[in-house]
Amino acid sequence: MFASAIFRKAKANGSWLIDNIFAASAVGLVLTLAPLLVFLYFLGHNAYNFTNDVPWGLPVATYVFFVLTSTGLTFIASLAMVFGFNDFYPAAKRCVWLALVTLVAGFTALALEIGSPFRMLWALPTGLQYVSPMFWMGVFYSLYLVLLALKFLRINAGDWDSSLSRGLGLASFVSVVIAHSALGLVFGMMAMRPVWYDPMMPVYFLITAALSGAAFAVFFSYLPYGFRQENMPELLRALASGTSLAKVFATMIGITILSILSRTITGLWSNLDGLEAFQYVAQSPLFYFELLGLVISFYLMVSKAHQRQARWQILSAVLVIASLFIGRYEFVIGGQIVPLFRGAWVQGFAEYTPSFAEWLLVGASCFLFLLLFSAGEKFIDLASERWHRSSAVAHRPDATTLADASSAPSGH
């Protein structure tokens, strides 16, 4: 009975695109995870190209990318659910789901990267090393996962506005602010690595996380509707075709560009030992791809001729996602690329190129994310529209515009 209900729902919701993504990502997950596990079984971590100079490689960058994206998605959802920017309600439920699944993807990347992930389950609570930022990162990202899951269950049951549901929304927002700050400080407290050493690192992470979340929100709000505004439910279409989304997006891109330039120029200018890493970064074509991607996105989102059109919004989102992934990689590697007193004749920059197994890990994380996202689209109604519309209609029978809908009171 339950299975047939799910099946009916799947048929009703599933577009061919989502179905195909679901199938392809399931295949992709098997094709990446299976060989990776074989590698890990036979070679252990020798399958990865980490060295003692660069102990954190591409998998950690992937983890940072996904968990900060999750953070950003919660920020976007919280615009509506915590801060009362009702325009963003139509995207909120999907954002909460996306936040959950990006977090799971990030945790998966980390679990496949660290030596003994299961030992962590007892060693973390029995160690209680409260001076370690990584300890707090673990505590608050775990708490955030639980709160976010509970919040999603509430809104999936149609409960958006009870005090419990609102409390869960607020609590998950607060926990993720603390969690991402702890992650920022995992890097920002490292005085011996000046590329990272920055008490404002949580703020930098906050800005870039918000942008990352916004890009995911845009791309994955379009995807279930075949990337066409006209297929979207009314209120989501109003959000997508309005200017406020583009303005918020552009503002975050702009601040991110400024942050990256400020960090890079300071790094290139300074003589401080270790900041040569910025020369390494600036010599890489990836850095210019990252910058160019952000600049083009910024232009598209401030240009009145482009900012409201689906194709440019989607292109911007894709460019931002790619740029930020490169940015996370450069950030993680950049802090380690200048070796610390490492051995005879080790001079110049450390060498690190991700191994095939590391790319498999990235692939597995991405396919897991896509699989969970498309499963959500197939089996759960991720559009916030239905509730919103009925709520709006219930209170304002003539409510058809975004402005009207956004004033829909609580009480469902």
């Binding site: 399958a47 030596g115 060693a123 673990g138 011996m192």
Partner: protein, 253 residues
């Protein structure tokens, strides 16, 4: 309780790397994993280029950042001043490798750059990284100290040969390898140092040789400005005035 420290006289060090070899043999290290290393490098350009070397064990810092960052308290500082790793707790997150300013920590399972991979020649059947025939006897190994052969997926480091120094008679001011009674308690690198460039003793004992050398020859510490305050001091020639270790003295407890 002693607070063990080391003094390395750079005027005496010949860069022979016997210390590195002794350390490798004592601790059964995989090739390339040098808990005690001698860095060779050049400074300047022709015709004024200089060949230099610099011996570098773990600094066993007074304020070890590796201990503070470890999320599971696997790495800790003993009462006698040595930083150790409990291999039974380590989760292999490698954050301590990130946080160590001196690059003295090693992950037990990284791809070998020196081939052939000797770990394949002597495989371990009890979950260790390898099982070489010249290993420390099992009775002297201790996973809670990070002494012996590490299991897979943990971080390892110089322990000041804790299996040796922890057995030293109480109240010993200096572990002098020239004293036959103390030789077996002295770290392997100190015992083997042919030019006698290494001294090992109690930093808190005013009578110790290490304390006297640090005072009289003005021992300096590597990257002192970072505040980790190594318990390994270097003697660089000695007669010049001392440089302040930090910009304001006694501001940090």
């Amino acid at each position: 309780m002693a607070r063990w420290g080391m003094v390395i006289d750079l005027e005496r060090c010949t860069g022979c790397q016997a210390c590195s070899t002794a350390c490798q043999m004592e601790n059964s290290l995989v090739a390339g994993e040098n808990w005690q290393d001698v860095m060779f490098y050049t400074e300047g350009k022709y015709p004024a280029a200089q060949l230099k070397w610099f011996p570098r064990p773990c600094m066993q810092c007074e304020h070890p950042s590796c201990v503070d960052v470890c999320p599971v308290k696997a790495t800790y500082k003993t009462k006698d001043g040595v930083v150790l790793i409990d291999w039974n707790r380590c989760i292999g997150c490698k954050y301590c490798q990130i946080a160590c300013p001196y690059g003295v920590r090693f992950y037990s399972e990284v791809k070998q750059t020196l081939l052939p991979d000797m770990r394949d020649a002597w495989k371990s059947d009890d979950g260790k990284v390898w099982d070489p025939p010249f290993a420390l006897p099992k009775s002297r190994r201790n996973d809670k100290w990070g002494v012996g052969i590490p299991p897979r997926h943990v971080v390892s480091k110089c322990t000041f040969c804790y299996h040796r120094i922890s057995q030293a008679p109480k109240g010993t001011a200096d572990l002098d390898p020239s004293d036959p009674k103390l030789r077996e308690f002295t770290p392997a690198c100190v015992v083997t140092c042919a030019p006698n460039a290494r001294y090992f003793g109690d930093l808190d004992n005013p009578q110790s040789k290490v304390r006297q050398l640090i005072s009289e020859k003005r021992g300096v510490r590597l990257l002192d400005h970072l505040g980790n305050k190594p318990q390994v001091y270097y003697l660089t020639g000695g007669e010049a005035g001392a440089l302040p270790g930090s910009r304001a003295t006694a501001t940090r407890v």
